[in-house]
Symmetry: C2
């Protein structure tokens, strides 16, 4: 059994979100706590801006949840930058323990699942879990210097500039994390680093099928099966892959990457990055959970666990998907 | 209270270790499961060699513990490489869930503390947790290409080529993880990336003092307070810092980095890297726990949470130390 059930149902008391101007022109604009006019956020480097966004999201989640930093037990976080510096430097501002995690764009679900485990088991009472990403820091780390003005291939996605997190506690909201399915690493041999959606879709399929099997649930038991950032193409692939296994999630599957941008033009397949599900889930989707427009969501954040070195050495892309079941209880 | 107590006392059933020729010339040589004659381990790149060592250590831990991969519930791991590719690519070989963590050289204790939490809470029964590092992959990622033949400053440490891990379960050994203290990020403003020991010592001090306060223990309640990889200088600093706070650990503190190499010459302050405490604890120290030459060890793995980008942007080095109490019960 790969799925962990949380009998004490840890609560997502509140969320905190921030996003860049391009992101806020889309669906999340109305729901984020802060919209940036300028993606440098007043900092001298994109990396510092990314870190400042993450700090903002974490602090805002605590604040929106009526918590205080003094009473927060832990910060669980990670990001896309080498050595997860955004998370580590954010943690430096906090006077409570830090658990650094890495799951590329699956980080949000990994952090939420760990937070729920700590709280469910009585090891902690209040945890802030958050992640984020920045288009410009990701581009220059993973791809090319922005100044080169490289052409983007049509299967590529656009790293989201934004951060989001949640204040998770033992009580304080009807929105609970009821179970978590930590994913296995799945590698279908895809080596095209511009085609992350196709690489990650099999991992999403594996975790979703495992979750449904372990919980005895059908896709329709969820109002929404929300994948992290497969993008438009990856979203179609995961629907096909699950369909082939006899699981129909055509009608209630949405991908954060596919819906975040207003018009998919430069972004081609949509958004990606750890900030993608962090912003979409914690603003737009969390609002629908609060309003009970949605009552049961399976958040499946997907991550491509490559590096420029592994790709340079000819390796394919290992991928992972962690799922957390989030429900009004 | 920063310390978590494990009432069900998860057990370190067995360990698995591997190290390079330079490391095996020292104290750990007699105790590791495998000594490499050649630090490429038959691979075409140092990164692939690092990954192969980690895979070996994880598999060997399961095997030494009489476990099977089929019955293992989780792999918790991380490493020093960008996007923790050694851990992710190792996880690709396993048909069970992966939790990727990052804590630089504190990774071993972070992974053990998480594994103990999962097992203590009944969320998993058998977990393999491991980490490692490789001198040559770390040098070229963090410092200079080896081919440059750069001079090393006297306060520098030598990244350990090796990997180690443990098979942690709910039963099966008298050696238990009884508590864990997750650390806060501490930054004393040190910017010299060649002086990690000095940067990390305050974090080690903070976690050790917190652990002793939370548990009501004195340093002498431990047979050994084992820090991760402060090196010779860092070890002296942590003894001084704790002494200033009225805590005397002069007589029972040892640092893995200080003891791993036979003669500290090229390595100056000793060993470092996630593999340092992974190899020393899981071979030499674990053997002493098994033989009951040691009965109570506080493993305090320390990590410097910098990246080449953060240093290049003028940032100081945020550090962390996670501690786990390991006892014959």
């Amino acid at each position: 059994m790969q799925t962990i059930f949380f009998k004490n149902q840890p609560r997502i008391v509140a969320t905190g979100t921030i996003a860049g101007p391009k992101e806020c022109a889309g669906i999340v604009g109305k729901y984020v706590d802060k919209t940036l006019d300028d993606d440098t956020f007043g900092e001298s480097t994109y990396e510092k801006a990314e870190c400042k966004m993450l700090t903002f999201a974490a602090r805002q989640a605590i604040k929106n949840g009526g918590g205080s930093e003094k009473e927060t037990d832990m910060f669980i976080s990670g990001d896309l930058l080498n050595q997860i510096i955004s998370a580590s430097f954010t943690a430096r501002d906090f006077d409570f323990p830090f658990i650094g995690v890495y799951g590329a764009c699956s980080t949000l679900a990994e952090a939420y699942a760990l937070a729920a485990t700590f709280i469910d088991g009585g090891y902690a009472k209040k945890i802030v879990a958050a992640t984020g990403s920045h288009f410009s820091s990701a581009e220059r780390q993973y791809r090319y210097p922005l100044e080169l003005g490289n052409t983007r291939p049509p299967q590529s996605q656009w790293t989201v500039t934004g951060a989001g997190g949640a204040f998770i506690a033992d009580t304080g909201s009807p929105i609970a994390i009821t179970s978590a399915t930590f994913g296995k690493v799945v590698d279908f041999g895809i080596t095209d680093v511009n085609n992350m959606g196709a690489a990650m879709a099999p991992a999403a399929c594996d975790t979703i099928l495992t979750h449904l099997r372990d919980t005895g649930r059908k896709p329709t038991d969820y109002d929404l099966i929300l994948t992290g950032d497969l993008g438009a193409l990856g979203s179609r692939i995961v629907k096909d892959l699950t369909w082939e296994k006899g699981v129909d999630m055509q009608s209630n599957h949405v991908d954060c990457g596919e819906i975040i941008y207003k018009v998919i033009e430069d972004e081609f397949q949509g958004g990606s990055g750890a900030g993608c599900s962090a912003v979409v889930f914690n603003s737009y989707i969390y609002d629908k959970l609060k309003n009970r427009e949605l009552n049961r969501v399976l958040l499946c954040a997907t991550g491509a666990l490559l590096s420029t070195v592994s790709s340079g050495q000819g390796e394919s892309i290992p991928c992972i998907c962690h799922a957390v079941s989030i429900e009004n209880v």
